[in-house]
Amino acid sequence: MDPQLELSQCITRRQLLGRAATGIGTAALATLLNPKTANAASEPGLGFSHVAPKAKRVIYLFQSGGPSQMELFDYKPRLKEWHGQELPGSVRMNQRLTGMTAGQTKFPVAAQRVKFAQHGQCGAWVSELLPHTAKVVDDLCFIKSLQTEAINHDPAITFFVTGAEQAGRPSLGAWLSYGLGSENHDLPGFVVMISLGTGRPNDQPLYDRLWGSGFLPTQHQGVKFRGNGDPVLYLTNPGGVDDSLRRRMLDDVVQLNQLRLQTQADPEIATRIAQYELAYRMQTSVPELTNVSNEPDHIFEMYGPNSRVRGTYAANCLLARRLAERGVRFIQLFHRGWDQHYDLPKQLQGQCNDTDQASAALIQDLKQRGMLDDTLVVWTGEFGRTVYCQGELKPDNFGRDHHPRCFTVWLAGAGVKPGMTLGATDDYSYNITERPVHVHDLNATLLYLLGIDHTKLTYFFQGRRFRLTDVHGKVVEEILT
């Protein structure tokens, strides 16, 4: 018998029984039973795949802090007429505001000071802050009518990626790792990369829970690929230990563990042996992955000069493509600094400089490699921003507060209609006038594109079958190819 297969059967004993006992679905089980079938898990009929998947993997570009839909995508020409005027009560409708502006006596409309133009065949409106994104609009699908429930960063971003405002639930990537397993045996199935925004450096704190496994087993938590030090924590051997010494030591660890396996007959020991081998392979595969020196110059030029600077958003976009090429299922970037309460013009310019070229390059790069067909790319923040000014509206400066009622996201690639815009907002970009899409709907759609019925990906915990979309969520059919 193939020793690897034999080992994998040992590995799965506890999972098998755990699942049988607690009624967890059979799909993750199929993956665990034989990692080889994990490759096929995205085929219909296997595992948690309930429908034919369009996407094999996701690259999720999270813009943390709440990018202003008004300065980027949601063109509202009439705001110029109303600039400085009080936002009409008929628009605001006494909706909840954050504590930062609830005390303001005036809510003056702040017009868009950036120029907008229509681009591509589809004629999508994009502001001058995003010249590169403007060039790929025919590959993008915009939803201008996304809405969320929370109004402050922590609950809102937690809600966006875990489906609940409170801490403790698994993140989207953890759900996917649990439901679909990993395609690559030498790399984790869920990778997270974080970059700082130059628009508002050192802001928008993130939290481990955003890529945490919640109540799912810990192995499903996202693995951070870091911009400094070891790309994966503790990856590098200590000084004085080279690869051959590590291998030699590991051989002894394996042998001693095998001796123990013989007397104890505990399958966990077999798992441990396999995990040490995987760790050893990661020590090679991760540096190979993060070493971009073999990328040609034109690729760096495409992603922009920052793509040569480790830890930047641009460098992370390039790494995202390399991870996608190696079959990593869920790659999530978090770019910090999108919280423009004040100094919006200057800050936003910085944020767009950080991200525009690389986001667009990622689309083009995936496309030229034929990978956009089975890779889904998502660009979003946790909420949008208010049409009214936060603080004093000055001739050359202003800010905007958090706005959960409408904001713009875009998707591209596998299974999503290119060059499309769904939904619309009123003339103030304050309320949705057409086709509201809730965060739960977006998450249901992502799962659908990966072949998962969001109502069936569940985990039994504390007496309930939990799911990413709670008891909500409808797939956004209009954007599907």
Binding site: E6, Q9, D154, I194, R226, M249, V253, L261, H402
Partner: protein, 783 residues
Amino acid sequence: MLRLKFSQAVIVGGLAWLSFVDVTAAESTVDFARDIRPILSDNCYACHGPDEQARQAELRLDRQEDLTAEINGHRVVSPGEPQQSELFRRISSSDDERMPPAETGRSVNADQIALIRRWIEQGAKWQPHWSFTPPQRSELPKIKLTQWPRNAIDYFVLARLEQDGLAPSSEADKSTLLRRVTLDLTGLPPKPEEVDAFLADSAADAYERVVDRLLASPRYGERMALDWLDAARFADSDGYQGDGHRTMWPWRDWVIRALNANMPFNQFTLEQLAGDLLPGSTSDQRIATGFHRNHRHNDEDGIIPEEFLVEYVADRTETTATVWLGLTVGCARCHDHKYDPITQREYYQLFAYFNNIAEKGRAHGNAAPIVQLASQQQKEQLTSLDRQIENCRSRLAANPADAAPKTEMEQLEKQRKELENSIPTTMVLQELSEPRQTHLLKRGVYDQPGDAVAPAVPAVLSPSPTDAPVNRLGLAKWLIDPAHPLTARVTVNRYWQLFFGQGLVRTPDDFGSQGERPTHPELLDWLAVEFMQSDWNVKAMHRLIVTSATYRQSSPCSPQLLEKDPENRLLARAPRLRLSAQAIRDQALAASGLLVEQIGGPSVMPYQPAGIWEDVASTSSGYQVAEGRDLYRRSLYTFWKRTVTPPAMAVFDASSRETCTVRQRRTNTPLQALVLMNDVTYVEAARRLAERVMQESPESPDRQLPHMFRLVLGRQPAPDEAALLKKAWNEYRTRFANCPDEARKLVAAGKSPHDPKFDAMNLAAHMVIASTILNLDETITRE
């Protein structure tokens, strides 16, 4: 070949277990509580259960009177007559009348339908949910293997084994047993001299005396505190966006003291939930109430304070329910509970006990209410400063033109302020003078108040004692009332989990109808009653468990046993359990001699790779890796920042401490291997372990390597293990002799100084062996 057979056996084993349960059920009387309620709960209660809003067809299946009722001319259940029972007819129907409806995603399988049929045939006897009636101490069951039991526990375990034709495993060998019980009770490995003493002690009570020594060790309180800190979501930071730092370690130290002093669990409960309300409450009793200030605090700009006040109170309510009741009352925050008889109103009645704290919704760090913990010296300094300030003030009043007292006074006031700031504080509970009215919140939303409610306990459980006041103290008294059906059961179940990896109820956070039934119901009840009758004596309960024959079994498992009971529910063997994140690190520190055994004090910052906090947090105060002793304190004292869990701990399943956690998790991942191989914590521990054996056994590697093995694993290496290590050592020695620079690099690991008297090449070779041992599965497992 052995392993090949083995892996085949386990797959078959999984299926065998399931059918084995069914066969057992098929041959005996159907038991409503054991066999039927779980089926109804999981498949029916969401629409035909306690939640009035969600209820369909006005049908309830969770209460006796409704089950036998007649609705529209149909009997729901007609005892003895399955065909006349609408319940049976609908679940076995093949047309669109079939229940549950397909769109619910739930379905009742053929075996379950057969069970329900037989239950009705046998008279459809109803029983209340097992955990809602007080535990009863039953007679010890009859057993055949009468020489095996050491105490009452063993009678229950053995009776169950014999029922299935199984026999217990032999007692573990002495070195395994000593390592197991030492790790379980103190979180540290046994010292070599302790191993020697125990191996040499042939007295009949040698083991019991070891247990007593361990229970008396100050390390016991530290080890036992760990699980309580997870339950209490204790941390050193606020947990939301800003994640500011706080000092709650005085509360943590209170827990360690209480556990070491063997404070009875009822007192432990009273002081933490309501220490401030006890007559003549002491400073310590107020510190204890920090239990319910350990939840997260939000100080994000722009939050609505009222919203987060509600979150804090909800956290206290749900944590209390998880820890003492083992119930998922959080489900009833937005609507009536769907499975257990807890209404939304009752949720807010519980909530009301905790809704009267003099606190703010937007809170940062040690937010009021707090207590200051001035030392005697600090108190004296304060008094002295106050006196001097007063003196200056009088001089100034007497002679307003004199500048000297004014300057002096300003300086003294500055000093006083500095002193004041240096005095630690800790958050506590304190009631508002004007009670706050609690309302039911519609859909659980802070700004949707419904009816006003007053504090009260859920009707399905025991009533509040008549002398209990209607406040937190009354709630605490209710929890520890001997008539309470849950507190003792839930608590002894967590203790069982400490020593067996799984509770007798494998869902320690859910004793409701969706939770698992106990594997040994009579044993759980016996222990619960014993616990209460011993006046909630925690150490006595721990002693009872670890001195049982059940606990003292060996852990290796035969393929036959693995096939019959793969999850070890019946306990025919001791479980083999991976150590907790904290114990893995503490063990490495202890074995290498680095461990600093100092109880309590501010949390410390041991090694952590640079930039981890900065990657995600906006805090200006970065992680400052400690110097000297603070690098080597027990992991219990590691600074716990909730939004950035210490990474090497998180990899080994440590709780993030964001919410109350009472379940243990044990994964097995490649990242764990990377930590043990490469984290400087373990590389330095390997060096110190190597230095230690070179110091203690100067003769030769033939002595040193087994000594090292024994320091970590508490046993001598077997000949093949010793040979393997020696062969490797020879290779490493040659290797480092050829590249001494590499040896020097390796021995430089860690901040503790490298003793130059040890030759770097020898030391490096020893280090790789030490690292090998620290990476073994056996090392991070308690067998």
